[in-house]
Amino acid sequence: MARIVVDPITRIEGHLRIEAEVSGGKIVDAWSSSTMFRGIEKILKGRDPRDAWYFTQRFCGVCTTVHSIASVRAVENALGIKVPPNAELIRNIIMGIQNVQDHVIHFYHLHALDWVDIVSALKADPAKTASLASTVSDWPLNSPTYFKGVQDKLKAFVAKGRLGPFANGYWGHSAMKLPPEANLMATAHYLEALEWQKDVIRIHAILGSKNPHPQTFLVGGMAIPVDPDSQNALNADKLITISGLLKKAKEFVEKVYIPDLLAVASFYKDWAAIGGGVGNYLSYGEFPDPITGKQFFPPGIILGKDLSKVYPVDQKKVAEYVDHSWFEYSGGQGKGAHPYDGETEAKYSGPKPPYKNLDTDRKYSWVKSPRYEEKPMEVGPLAKLLVAYASGHKETQDAVGLVLKHLNVPATALFSTLGRTGARGIDCLITAQQLPKWLQQLEESIGKGDLRVHAQEKWDPSSWPSEAQGYGWHEAPRGALGHWIKIKDKQILNYQAVVPSTWNASPRDHKGQRGPYEEALIGTPIADPNRPVEILRTIHSFDPCLACAVHVLDATGNEIVSVKVK
């Protein structure tokens, strides 16, 4: 049996290695390993809990907001703090636009190259491309001159011998199905999305006072003053600027991203039956109502692809296992540890690099195996949408229904690689349409004279109990993110983060159950073992981000992009 090794998986943040066994043109077994490890609690122990977000912000290489939000929520949960409505709305806008921007970047800049052949785009007829584009959207830029311009730019770039971000693509692969014109359309929008994302993320600079690394997060609320008449506060002018940027964000998603997603998906419908995975889904829900606290996307759990039941999430049922991870627990193997009592004692027992294969019967990853009631769970936009859909969330049911109808596929098509990629787009659309409403609520609240952004009563540590513990949940762009904190004598006693990619990239657990990436790869067809683009399609559909799960362990010991077939 042939074993394929893809190491590292490119176009992700962080480092991920996949080993897969192929038989009869299909993957029959798979192992996901990240050759890095984490240990944030070392840095946080003994610090003031109110400072934690400032450190956790730097966990991740790309999403600087998500670990700040989860951290301040964990401390607020531990101390029983309710943040004022304005702060909740400002956070919703910050999280919402992060989601929208991140999903667009993922689709065009990290995932599209698995489906779109850039080299083929060079052969496209710009006039035909424009007429194709006009059938899917009335986006004003879609003209023959525009597509010709993009093609010329691309040709000049390739002529310099610098494929740059497009290097490592599987050009001309038999699994690439788009006609040249669709490839050119998608490539043009790849470039347009670059310009678009630069603008919309200015919202973080306005609400965060600084971007990258926004500075206005605060336990108990936000540190941005709200005053319609002050130059130095969130004032009427700034609200108008944000409103314009949100409009721009929504337009692009409605008129470019979603039409492109549907156009590309229509050529790859076979991927609606590939990449199903573990079939258990976990979402923490997101976007609390500023008054009631009820989340816009409801939290919940779905088991065994059964959409007739949604179970409530109980954080007590989360535990991390290390039976196949390079860590040791003081309690020994075979038992999970709840994040409140999490341990990170690294003990590498894998082969000495450079090596051909990992010893996958034993420990083979730096990623722990989080499980919910001992079950592997998939997290991310698909989990979020399935939970919302099965809970009867109207906006989700409407949007999912439209997409299924357009592609003429049943709801079971969602349990797939294509479903994952589609769900990310639908999530982006619903959020982009919801964002202006939160801004409007904020404007109304300010209009009524409520300028509160911070709940101050528990700011002073003398008001805290001698011991407290809490958790902060955030449904981040990549899914369920949780921070758990234990506080003793005003200081951090323990701190653990269970991040989305840990759930998804986890290796086998104490029961030998595969993690979500591993399970999703089973049955994936492999046309050419030397160019396994199909592996990338399924893995990228999860939007892996291991920059926060892990860190570089051995910068020089790892090969540059290599695919090895044994």
């Binding site: 790309v62 770039f157 610098r162 740059g164 994302q197 603008d199 990258p212 690394h213 860190h551």
Partner: protein, 160 residues
């Protein structure tokens, strides 16, 4: 001429913090003329694209894997930078390399690029520098100031 001084690195990973520390120290010690932007880029890639637009000269400070002794410093210029990053000498090769190429593709790559780097000893998750890299921080600050001076950008010490 607009100039960007960009510190890259993860401040939670030992020596990986070097680039960010150098620019933070300089910003704390000196006033710079308006044509210079000093930016803590963290480990971000594409999110930094807006800051490259309209920039004529780019000076990057980063931890760079050169194979040399820990704490040794290196200067690279122009096309050597993306090329060096392509052969994976920096822990942030994905972000910065892609960023420069995308800027080039979009037609606003800086005309002049210089990178000052330091060889890291440890990039484990912790906030201490190794003694070798800690000893090189001030040296790097001096190199960066000299580079800026050669571009006609004067740093004025802040009082106290």
């Amino acid at each position: 001429m607009r100039t960007l001084l960009l510190g890259i690195g993860n401040t939670l990973m030992n020596d990986d913090a070097a680039g960010v520390l150098v620019i933070q120290n300089l910003a704390a010690k000196f006033f710079f003329p308006e044509e210079l932007t000093v930016l803590d880029g963290g480990t971000l890639g594409l999110d930094l694209l807006p800051y490259l637009e309209g920039v004529d000269r780019l000076l990057v400070v980063d931890a760079v894997e050169t194979g040399g002794p820990v704490g040794s410093i290196i200067r690279m210029t122009g096309d050597d930078i993306p090329l060096a990053l392509a052969t994976k000498v920096s822990p942030h090769q994905m972000g910065l390399k892609d960023l420069l190429l995308v800027a080039d593709l979009q037609g606003y790559a800086p005309k002049e690029m210089v990178l000052w780097g330091v060889q890291p000893g440890s990039i484990e998750m912790d906030i201490e520098l190794t003694p070798e890299v800690a000893a090189s921080i001030e040296l790097l600050e001096g190199k960066v100031l000299a580079e800026l001076a050669a571009w006609g950008i004067t740093a004025t010490p802040k009082s106290n």
